[in-house]
Symmetry: C2
DNA sequence: AACAATACGTCAGTGTTGTTGACATTCCAA
DNA sequence: TTGGAATGTCAACAACACTGACGTATTGTT
């Protein structure tokens, strides 16, 4: 089997990786992440929003009615940092903030019509690039891409990955 | 062939990707990048350095005697931003700044002994995680990982990827 | 020799996004 | 009733990006 990228496998089935190969992996992450954020960044700057706004919109879209605490632990930032971003999104009418029914201490976040539309624009820009990259690399590559990324996540953060649930407890 | 991750391929050989699959790819990038930077970030904060210092050290190590302009276009930041970082690294004795021989306007950057040692510590932390992720995902996955990342880069930035040259012209 | 362009450094101001620390309010649960 | 949980907010600060402007040294060109 041709492994490509100068990898080799020894008799124990363990990958042998040179410093050079690891360095290229590191740089690949660096350069790819720039490309990954480039398109949404352009759209965001038109409305003088930043990447933090995009992230908030993304996860609110993913988990409608998500609570502040859940969003906080998903994003991994402080509440003060998130609050600044949410305040502008709520004021601008992109995000709805509703008091919980079971637990009135909680707030449930969701996208307004405008918010959905804007999130879609950002999401489309990012998805387009990802789709192009996927097709360029091929189906097998996509599988490997996701497998390596998942293995690279912190276990603590990984639990927030791949769910559509809003994490509400009954 | 089992593609996994719910992908499918149509008769034209084109990947069919649902919004859900693309969304998971986007989140994978987000969470993985956090993991990717987590270990070096810890080391950096002990010396009150940031990610920008790490990036500078990485590319100076990769291309010894690199000029300011080349480093600038590799990192994709402004000279004012880079200068702030380089100034501290030079003052702290981690980076050498030497006037060019052929062209005395240019400055050539390289790591000192201390700089090499520090860069190695950062690099090792990051490489360890990447090596673990690679081994967990398997040899085929690594190939796909790199292929997708490369396809995701901006062409303008991609030209800085995968070279050990310092970009000097004769 | 004169002049334009290149490479670099720096000052000042601004914006986004993160942090810590402190404090208040509201509400749930024991 | 009392403690803790969930949220919001104020203030201060730091990292790191940006723009704009200006200065100096050096090189290349006319």
């Amino acid at each position: 089997m041709s492994l490509g990228y100068g990898q080799s496998e020894n008799s124990s089935g363990l990958l042998f990786l040179t410093d050079e190969q690891l360095r290229k992996g590191i740089e690949a992450m660096f350069f790819a992440y720039r490309g990954f954020t480039a398109d949404p960044d352009r759209i965001l700057s038109e409305r003088s929003y930043g990447r933090a706004h995009h992230r908030a919109l993304h996860f609110i879209k993913r988990s409608p009615a998500i609570t502040i605490n859940n969003l906080l632990s998903t994003l991994g930032v402080t509440k003060q940092s998130l609050n600044r971003v949410l305040r502008t999104l709520i004021q601008d009418g992109l995000v709805l903030n509703e008091v919980g029914v079971q637990d009135k201490r909680q707030r449930h976040l969701s996208l307004t019509e405008d918010g959905s539309e804007f999130e879609r624009a950002l999401s489309n820009a990012q998805s387009d690039r990802m789709r192009t990259a996927y097709r360029q690399a091929g189906a097998d590559a996509v599988q490997g891409f996701r497998a390596v990324l998942e293995a690279m996540m912190d276990p603590e953060l990984k639990k927030h990955y791949g769910t559509r649930s809003n994490g509400q407890r009954s």
